[in-house]
Symmetry: C2
Subunit: 228 residues, 2 copies
């Protein structure tokens, strides 16, 4: 499903160049569940932004379902982002003045779904992450872990074929973390949804098939997760 | 140092009441290191906001150094917040258009420190959390864990007597987490700074003297951390 070749990203801060990704090569098969781990600043979120078509690489290639992403038009990229990919950002990125329900409905608006249908589907997704009763809260009226769960619900509501989750349980207690991981694992095993998940926690990484380790903008190691 | 008695906080969302804290009783001694754990939504951040004088309780009492916080004027509260307490928020709360260095300098501005001195002290604090070379980045130019470390540096720069840290290592890899905990432990043991820290991770909680468990807006249990 995803093929990256010599993928690189250099940021500019004033005149200073920051080589956040320095030639990443990786294939992720359709239906795979891959975990990404690595030190703070090693390039994980930068990589996820490129996979999610939210940013363009400085050099290198990214093929999504065999198509070279750099050759796609703006509207084709928007279509992919909104209909094929569910994204959980490291800092949630919820709209601050909209309720939990409206935040979760957003991807369905893009899909052209009607208002009653959207509210129903969004409500179901919020219930699935344990947030019934919080639909009409705006983000500032939710706990950190609740905001994170709204972001997760929003990523799932459009039945995406690819889920990119950047530290989805960083703000969650162990029980909520486990519930989220079970949801993701179920989607992966039953519906063959491809999942790429960044985590700092070994327990969480064990839900994946493979663990990809980032170090200083490169992949330093890839391990298979073997059943205990 | 801190005494709370029947501390309660009820939020209003439309006409719906949300009893986030339902009568919390707790004493925290000067120089103590207390960890707070509990499920998502159990009231931990609400409690931290009250301890940090960022919000007022609906009922109950809060004595800080023996003074009833509810009887203090706005300027007295601002003085306490800015000079006595260092606060790490669950979602960093950095100023988005200011650099890492400027964000860390903020508490020193309130203290009336001169510009050259401020830049020096802030620079030292950023180096202490491993962020030399990132001083002139604004938050959007920093990784999640780097933003979290800027927030930690800002909480420490004013040499506060009380540190309130709400999940300070949620976005940090295990090595950066350990470095931060060692900094906090050192401040606690060498300078007797009182620390109250919310965490979801058992490894992190082991750095504390006591662990306070929240459940549904109340304290359900308090354990002492014994040396292994
Ligand atoms: N400003 C607010 N208005 C209304 N309800 C709120 C507000 N802030 C928090 N709440 C609610 O109060 C409850 C406690 O929230 P709090 O943020 O204290 O939880 P928490 O223990 O910090 O959770 P987490 O581990 O997810 O960060 C939650 O049910 C939340 O929805
Ligand atoms: N927009 C940007 N402009 C400049 N530099 C950036 C930008 N975004 C990230 N960086 C830098 O690129 C490097 C990699 O950042 P990235 O966010 O990918 O790290 P990460 O592995 O996700 O870290 P964390 O675990 O802390 O979230 C960091 O050194 C960071 O300072
Ligand atoms: Mg990141
Ligand atoms: Mg919280």
């Amino acid at each position: 499903l995803l093929q990256v070749e010599k993928l690189s990203k250099t940021y500019l801060v004033g005149d200073i160049k920051i080589p956040a990704l320095r030639g990443v090569n990786l294939d992720i098969a359709r239906g795979e569940f891959a975990a990404i781990m690595g030190a703070s600043g090693s390039g994980k979120s930068t990589f996820m932004n490129l996979l999610g078509c939210l940013d363009r690489p400085t050099s290198g290639k990214y093929l999504l379902s065999g198509r070279d992403v750099s050759s796609l038009s703006k509207s084709e990229l928007a279509e992919i982002r909104n209909r094929q990919i569910g994204f959980v950002f490291q800092q949630f990125n919820l709209l601050p003045r909209t309720t939990a329900l409206e935040n979760v409905e957003l991807p369905l608006q893009y899909a052209g779904m009607r208002s009653k249908e959207r509210a129903k589907k969004a409500g179901q997704q919020l219930a699935a992450v344990g947030l019934s009763g919080r639909e009409h809260h705006v983000p500032s009226q939710l706990s950190g872990g609740q905001q994170q769960r709204v972001a997760i619900a929003r990523a799932l509501v459009n039945d995406p074929s690819l889920i990119l989750a950047d530290e989805p349980s960083g703000n969650l207690d162990s029980r909520s973390s486990l519930e989220i991981m079970e949801i993701l694992q179920k989607l992966n095993r039953e519906r063959h949804i491809t999942i790429v998940l960044v985590t700092h926690e070994t327990d969480i990484s064990q839900f994946a098939d493979r663990i990809v380790y980032f170090k200083d903008g490169r992949i330093s190691q890839i391990s298979s997760v073997t059943e205990p």
